[in-house]
Symmetry: C2
Subunit: 138 residues, 2 copies
Amino acid sequence: MEQKERESILKNHRLRVTNCRLDVLEMFSKVDHALSQKDLEGSLQGYDRVTLYRTLQSFIDKGVLHKIPNESGVATFGICFDTCTSEDHNHNHLHFKCNQCGNIECIENQPIPKIDVPNGYKVQHWNMIVDGLCKSCA
Amino acid sequence: MEQKERESILKNHRLRVTNCRLDVLEMFSKVDHALSQKDLEGSLQGYDRVTLYRTLQSFIDKGVLHKIPNESGVATFGICFDTCTSEDHNHNHLHFKCNQCGNIECIENQPIPKIDVPNGYKVQHWNMIVDGLCKSCA
DNA sequence: TACTAAATGCAATACTGTTGCACTTATTTT
DNA sequence: AAAATAAGTGCAACAGTATTGCATTTAGTA
């Protein structure tokens, strides 16, 4: 991802262009899987952990990143679709966790699974968590 | 759920029958939705929080409860299917979170959704997180 | 009833997440 | 281009949840 592209992502989401935000965005685009704050602290030394924390918050608020539900208790983040804004997140997609390498990927452009819920329930959003072996590990 | 039934659940999962475990089991069977440790601490005064913590751990280990993936960072637990053991958890089911009352329910016996993953990926388990309005709130 | 392994309570610690405030920087306005 | 302003950053401190060690008590068993 080009510097220019990262800058316009920030601008499109009404976020000031700062080094920290650019670097965090770069990390996400480089690795193509979900990251925790700790992951970022490891790769992006030089930023205070509170700064990274608030950077992630602002990305969540403005629809640049989304939190991925998990059982571990530590927050993991993935890049949003282009369609996400602060008003309307569109996170109906599939999260794949590889049991070998541990990476979590957001998989887009798959057919939407049919959701069956009992009578009387109203579905607003859904999120599919799948685990198994990723392409590299299978 | 009868006392006898709770006792046999514990025995079937190779867990000693203790007051704390019986009471925790009772809580889960009464409320029919997911609970956090804090919920239990509120309703079951008299047990140390570490005891409740370890009770939940043992239930996870032996397949009585399962953790429900979420974005909040606090662990929430739901009762497992009868088929779960410490060797083989069978958690392929649907978790429904009501955006009104906040309750999380584990919904069983729904048709299995068709999972589409890109070529080369191997699915082992899946977990569906759906939010919206539950039957009571809709 | 006595024995043994497991469960419990208490104290202490680790870790993740969060807030306040002074200072710096990006953007806007003149 | 400089000044004004609103937002971002770093540091220190705090909050909440998760986790471990150890002495004591209790459940299951011989």
